[in-house]
Amino acid sequence: MRKIINLNTNLKNSIGGNSIRKISDPWASIGTILGQTSIDDYSFHLKKFKAKKGDIVAAEAKQPTGDGRVVEVIVWGRIMEIISSNEFLPNEAAKELTEGNISIQDTILPLTKNDAICTVKNLGYTTNDPGQKLSLMPLNYPVYPGGAVKYPASKDLESLLNTDMKGKNPIFIGNLVARRDVDVQVSADNMVSRHVLVIGMTGSGKSVWVRRAVRELMVKQYPILIIDPHGDNLGIVQKATKLFPNHKIKLFYPKISASENNKEVIYTLIERLGNKLTEPQYDFLNWVLTKTDYEPGTSLIQYISILIQKSNAAAENKRNKSTKSSDGPGNTGASTMGVVSRSLRKVYSKLKEMEQSNISNRNKYPHLKFEELPDPYSQPEKIIQKSQVSILYLKGYESLPSSTIVSILLESLFNHRSAGNRTIPPFFTVLEEAQNFIPSKSEGQDGYPSVSTIKKIATEGRKFGTGLMLVSQRPYRLDETVCAQMNSYIILRLKNERDQRFVKNTMENWDNEEAKQLPNFANGQGIVSGQITNLPLTVQIKFDDDLTNDDIGDENFISDVQNWKESSENKKKRELSKDFDEVFDVDKRKPH
């Protein structure tokens, strides 16, 4: 009498043969592969609690090779989903337990019959030679049903994830979310020579990641430029200065300036910030612009004030019937000139206002030293230098002027690099609030000067060592062509539907299962994928608590109020107003 109980083992032997070698003895066996498998995925029956969602697991398998052999391999995969079920617990029983307030423990219902079925997405295979380095290759044959699934030892997993990192300047970024004991490294070489897109909703940990990356690059003395519209990075300045005493950490505020060959930028600025002009008015504006020399690198605000003077003078002349041909194209009337002058005044005062706002924001940090941004044409080395971090503080400036400033700055730095005259070393740019600089066309913000600059850097930067890290909390508002040039991604928590859709559309090999976890990430958890890593990984980014923002911590209104000291003027005012009230009380003549 044969018992069917033995059947499974018999079947296994007949399929697998005795020749299957164990991957590595200490790897725990955690389950058995189920009926149907494919190149992309498989499912397996999991031993209770032996693995969890997101874990990387290994299956023994065989792969046919190009030369007709069959080799034993390890197939690596990620657990995408676990479904636990107890077919012995019908819904009506659960309902009865609830309604009768009965504990299942007390009844004859079974407790031990939960089945966990895992779905695994294959990542690739490695050969099963202990001596060989672990590098992943694409599968060409599915794993076999009935095969064992193993839980790889941390050190083996770590070496798989970080293979080939040596010589690529690995930097430690954090640990696998599913396995905190596994360190994750990314290649600094790939990060600075290519481009990284960092997305996540507010508070998801973008700035923490930026700090991590910046810190590691600082260790490597790499020049860094941070474009910081909100001042998210000011908080680290003092601590970083202490941690890196030999580094220069520079805080810049912008000077709006342009180059000779970039009068277009000025034109755009005036066009966008000023009033809407008619054809003849534009003609006149053009005329003034060409007639007025601009010294590259000088303040644009000053230049605009010269333009105002010129157009006022021209109008004056017109009114005085003076008909010198140099006072305007054709027969421009004095009123046309007046309109242009008024528009220029508007631009002037707007820019002044933003400048002022930037100043008062800077004044909130009396302990920090801000310098005017040096002219990137003549003095790029003051911005980009070995062991220097330059932070450009843009708070107060609206997005168009910000875009102009950034466009001019990056364009110029990029030109220095592409000219190949070694005025500045390779450098890495971090662009916070990237949606302000590369708005998608659908945002109706076309004509932002920074779009074309960044597009150029994104496409050609690799050759010249001008890597970008774009940081945004609104990915769907980013320019698509720029995003398409990004080749590494840090994707933190995203709850917005449109942002999630953006991720699905932008990234190749993006899985719906992976998208599902986006809204549920905790702070600092995210997917790291692309060229900076060997495998897409769900990582808990390391939090550099020695670089925390104590200068501008999270808003804490409650303690703010508790520590609130009323100004002495206010106190007096209230005191006096009581006295006044008494006076008014006795005033019999006050009108009714």
Binding site: K3, A93, N101, T107
Partner: protein, 437 residues
Amino acid sequence: MQNINLKNKKKSSLFANFVNNVIHKPSPEVQKNFMDVSLKIAGTIKKICEDEKLIINIPYQGKNFWNKGKNYESCFVDGGVFSSVESSSAPFAIRSKSYIVKPTNPLTDREKFEETIAYMGDLYDSKNNIYDLSEDPYEDNQLLNKKKDAARIIFEIACLVKHVFDKQKFDFCFLHGPLQTPVMPFSGPEFPQFKKQVVKNILPFLNFDKKEEKINERHFINIYFQSIQFLLNSKFPIYGIVERTNSSVYLKNLLFRSFKKGKVAENDYNKMLSTMIRYKINDGNLFSLILSDCQALRPLEVDKQIPTRGLGGFSEWETQITSFPKIHVGYLKTNSHQAPIRVESLKKSKDLIKDYEYILASSKLLPNYGFPAGLDVVDKAAKIPAWLGRAAKSYYSKYYLDLAIESKNSKNISSALKMLQGGRVWRNRPKAGKVKK
């Protein structure tokens, strides 16, 4: 009559189903007439039951019950059969499982799923067969089905036997299905014996090795009889629970008892029986009308084995068939909308209320299904899933192929291959006798 609340009964889906099932496309008059008859019979039977004090109320206290119920150790038994979709294609697998649970034990020891006995093989083949067949009979499906049934019944009873044989100590033991099946249908001359190996393996108390074998000693009827006799030694109560029934064994016995006691006139008795037959009244549908939720009928001791005269006179099995022990049959209504479940036992229960309370509480865990949860569990566990069945089949077929290849007989090989391909024609069956192991 006034005791039957027609309004409520009419609402229940059970009643509607029952009406629909009994009469195809009933016209309104037919329906009404059927209802009238059913209710009249129900009213009368209820009176008899009350007179005999057969209706008992079983307390059900939910959480409070399980506070004491958790201390009992129970064993639930069921069998599972797999046979290929084509009913005449034979490789098949069969097993019985026990679900043994004692809620208060620590989790590691709280519940056990035992595969008490299992077998896979071929119903036909003389070499690897569950039955002893010398010839290749042109079997009809009816006989094949009987053989499958007999095999399942024996495997289930053998499971109970094993627990008694092993002197296991349960507070309760339940079988999914009747404790005794009428054996008459298996008494035909063509019905084969079980193989010695099979019987020896599954029914260890039957020691065939030591003694001279009698004719038909391994026949289903005999070993079933022996097994049931053996179960009478049990130190724990064993119940068979039947969820659906067309049987009218209780009704008939009840009427017969009253008739014998002189409480029902002979004329009335006969008329009632024939009305019941005409209207297809059975225990299930009638007691649905009489019992309320949590009510039970005290068991009656009934004889399930009634030899009938076949074409060729009484079967040779008559003596044994009539010596099967009587069996106690009761009903328990476990919810308001299902027919009562039938509860069978070989012996009179020592504490009827306690036992019924346990069965009721177990059924209340599945309030809609109204069947003991432990039996539902073991039913699912014992079922041989299609994949396992298929695996068994291909494993078995491959085993044949290996044997055939070993024999180097091309005819054997080709027929084994045919079998592997799934289709199976009896003419191509390998002559297993020629294949050496």
